[in-house]
């Protein structure tokens, strides 16, 4: 239920609906796009970013919150770790278990490797489960790999690494088939054709979905398969440092048991980093759609081991996070709502952007509408948003479409007495995705021998802006590639003697730059949401959270 004062604007949305149903808002031109992004996209706010002062990407700009952690101090004192006391000795260690980590584990095992999977929370606690809309693959007769390639690279502002985009679009149909053979239930028509939908920046209907629980369905199946294949796994055991050898190769990792703080050492011939993104850093104070563990840990570890990063100056703000009610502030309102026909509308009931532009464009247009043109709707807690006119969906596609296609969204809003089939949703951009990350090649190999990366933690595939449905594709394409390549690499590498000299060198570099004492300990592992004066894990004293921060749900 919306507060009474919003009724006037909500009424305008209803009144203008009939006119808008016949209205096609023009697509943005190349000439209009650049100034819109530069003026309103958070990536272009100068004071939000700074140059890195240490490491392989020294001099590159990245959000302040990320820079602090990338320049962070190790949790480990190298002189106090006995690297001869090995707890696990494996061919391939996978760090992180979302879609990418699980895929890598399965493929590494299939390729003969002895695999250990270590993850910070539970198997499958990852952004994958929150991915609602679908997975792209150009498999319809009027579609082609070329069109998927062009959509992806245009959405990425023509900055994507071409070879990675090629891998992405080429593997896509076989990924869909692989998932189906594992038992994923795709939405299909009775004749077996896939029920596919459009998406922002996609020029064909190419989204394969499982209601609006696509990522959940994919993850449930992969997690079950990891268990069926009896791959060893450790939950609540994040990596806090990589181990290298005297030849500069990756040689394993140090894990910590989050509940007991016990350290364990893994010797591994290859490591696949699949730790996901950084939404829980709340870049520029944005709320986020990301899961609890999205704290950029893998970026920090890989960076400290010498891996180059790419496009770390671009974050994705999903255009439609919930702006009301406050309990679900910033949580994802899937792009599928727009895909199915809902328009974005301001306080007067007018459209201001074509709803299926790429995400950076739509997010910027919403911010312009609220901050620049003051045509947003303010909530009782001081947030601002625009309407996402979901009732249009049933009008366009027939009664019952919302219930059938968007059960998660219906459920989420009905808890607060909002019927999205009858009433619009109030939305505002929310921190969603790390476009860049660890630089990889088409096998997921990073610039450090023996270190592979897959999924949101890597960068280059999506350039400076990812399209809908290309993330739940990326995790499987590059998870599979990295798992396979890591197993093959492990089969032939000869490890030297293990060392943490890279950590010593890192600490020296921080001290030489005069920043060691100024920076926090990283990886961060978990966000600081608890309102408590002392953190036993880091020894850092924190200010108490205000109510305003608590609402970062």
């Amino acid at each position: 239920m919306y507060p009474a004062y919003m009724e006037e604007s909500k009424h305008k949305v209803e009144v203008t609906r009939e006119k808008r149903l016949k209205e096609t808002f023009p697509r943005i031109t190349d000439e209009e796009k650049t100034p819109l992004l530069q003026q309103y996209h958070p990536d272009f706010i100068e004071e939000g970013m700074r140059e890195l002062l240490a490491g392989p990407n020294k001099g590159d700009r990245t959000p302040n919150e990320m820079a602090e952690l990338l320049e962070g101090n190790s949790r480990v004192d190298p002189d106090k770790v006995d690297l001869d006391k090995i707890d696990y000795d494996v061919d391939v260690l996978i760090i992180g278990c979302g879609g990418a980590g699980a895929s890598a584990a399965l493929l590494a095992q299939e390729n003969g490797a002895n695999v250990l999977l270590a993850t910070k929370l539970r198997l499958g606690d990852a952004n994958t489960v929150g991915a609602q809309a679908g997975t792209q693959a150009a498999d319809r007769p009027n579609d082609s790999l070329t069109i998927h390639y062009l959509d992806t690279i245009g959405g990425g502002r023509f900055t994507n690494v071409p070879e990675l985009v090629e891998s992405l679009v080429k593997d896509a149909p076989s990924v869909i088939k692989w998932l189906e053979e594992l038992g994923v239930c795709w939405d299909k028509n009775p004749d077996g054709t896939m029920h596919e939908l459009s998406g922002g920046g996609a020029s064909r209907l190419r989204l394969h979905s499982c209601r609006d629980y696509t990522g959940l369905e994919e993850m449930r199946v992969l997690r079950d398969e990891v268990k069926n294949r009896q791959i060893d796994y450790l939950e609540f055991s994040p990596a806090i440092e990589l181990i290298m050898d005297n030849k500069g190769q990756i040689a394993g990792a140090i894990l910590v048991n989050l509940e007991t703080n016990e350290l364990s050492l893994v010797r591994a011939k290859a490591v696949v980093m699949a730790t996901g993104g950084m939404g829980r850093l709340h870049i520029q104070g944005f709320p986020t759609t990301n899961h609890y563990g999205a704290t950029a840990d893998g970026l920090v570890l890989a960076y400290r081991a010498g891996a180059e990063l790419i496009f770390i100056d671009t974050m994705q703000y999903h255009p439609t996070g919930a702006a009301y009610p406050v309990q679900i502030l910033g949580q994802l309102v899937t792009e599928k709502v727009r895909t199915l026909g809902a328009q974005l509308v301001n306080i007067d009931g007018d459209q201001f952007i074509m709803p299926l532009e790429p995400r950076d464009v739509v997010a910027s247009a919403i911010i312009r509408e609220c901050q620049g043109r003051h045509k947003g709707i303010e909530t009782p807690t001081g947030e601002v948003g625009v309407w996402l006119d979901s009732p249009m969906i049933d009008i366009i596609r027939g009664e019952g479409t919302v219930a059938r296609e968007l059960p998660a969204m219906v459920r989420q809003f009905s808890r607060f007495n909002i019927d999205i089939a009858k009433e619009p949703m109030l939305v505002y951009p929310t921190l969603h995705y790390q476009n860049g990350g660890i630089k990889i090649d088409t096998d997921g190999a990073t610039t450090v021998p023996g270190l592979f990366a897959a999924g949101e933690v890597e960068g280059g595939v999506h350039g400076k802006n990812r399209l809908i449905g290309n993330s739940t594709l990326d995790i499987f394409v590059f998870g599979r590639r990295a798992g396979r390549a890591a197993a093959q690499y492990a089969n032939k590498v000869k490890l030297g003697s293990p060392t943490l000299d890279h950590v010593r060198r890192w600490q020296r570099e921080l001290e030489q730059a005069g920043i060691a004492k100024l920076r926090p300990i990283s990886p961060k592992l978990l966000p600081d949401y608890a309102r408590q004066p002392y953190d036993y894990l880091t020894g850092y004293t924190r200010e108490k959270l205000t109510i305003g921060q608590v609402k970062l749900a």
Partner: protein, 229 residues
């Protein structure tokens, strides 16, 4: 337009706290100083990590929900649910048959369901758990897949089942059987995979990979957009 925040009384494992009105159970725990390790995942109602039970000071009836989605109310008694063990059969999907006998062979305990409906009453997703249990007993794999599709596998049904059954794992098996064996085949997908393997798109992709940015921009701007509906 920010309103004055009202404080309400809640009890976490019996201990009294005051928290601002409008928090979820999860953010209320954090407001009171609890640093979550277990019992917290996607924070958006999809992962099932934060399944919780609660009741009220003067009302012992247990209620069930996801801590990240449920708003706290005056006099609520809260707790964190510990890890709850649940049986999961190990299987090779390729070697199974998509029928009820198969489900019973892997999960013979399924027959112990006596239809008390506790699972349905417990489900925070409001799924008809008991009905899909009975579909499973009848071997209607498709209906189990359909009715259980929105399951977040939070485990509350298993935690409360008086017979110790694990409905969410039976449902997962049925959905995988449906996806693998029973869903109608997608010929256009097979065709496209064959085309890719035959190298049909290789030359075009090579051309795009080598194309300069201005030409790519031109091609992008000129691409034909298929109507969304």
């Amino acid at each position: 337009m920010a309103e004055q925040v009202q404080m309400i009384d809640i009890y976490i494992m019996g201990k009294h706290y005051q928290v601002p009105e409008g928090l979820t159970i999860l953010t209320a725990l954090e407001y009171c100083g609890y640093r979550m390790i277990r019992g917290c995942g996607c924070r958006a109602g999809f992962c099932g990590a934060c399944a919780t039970v609660y009741n009220f000071k003067n009302d012992p009836q247990l209620r069930y929900d996801l801590a990240c989605q449920k708003t706290v109310e005056q006099d609520m008694y809260l707790t964190q649910i510990p890890f709850f063990p649940a049986a999961k059969a190990l299987y090779n999907l390729e070697e199974l048959k998509p029928d009820g006998e198969q489900v019973l062979a892997l999960y013979p305990d399924l027959e112990k369901c006596f239809g008390c409906n506790t699972c349905t009453k417990t489900c925070p997703q409001d799924l008809e758990v008991m009905w899909f249990m009975s579909d499973a007993l009848r071997g209607d794999i498709r209906e189990v897949a359909n009715k259980s599709f929105d399951c977040v596998m939070c485990g509350l049904c298993a935690a409360r089942c008086p017979q110790g059954l694990v409905p969410y794992n039976y449902a997962l098996l049925c959905r995988r059987l449906y996806g693998h064996y029973l869903a109608p085949a997608s010929k256009h997908l097979e065709d496209r995979i064959a085309e890719i393997e035959a190298g049909k798109f290789d030359a075009e992709i090579e051309e795009l990979k080598r194309m300069d940015e201005s030409e790519l921009r031109r091609r992008y701007a000129q691409r034909e957009i298929e109507p969304a509906y």
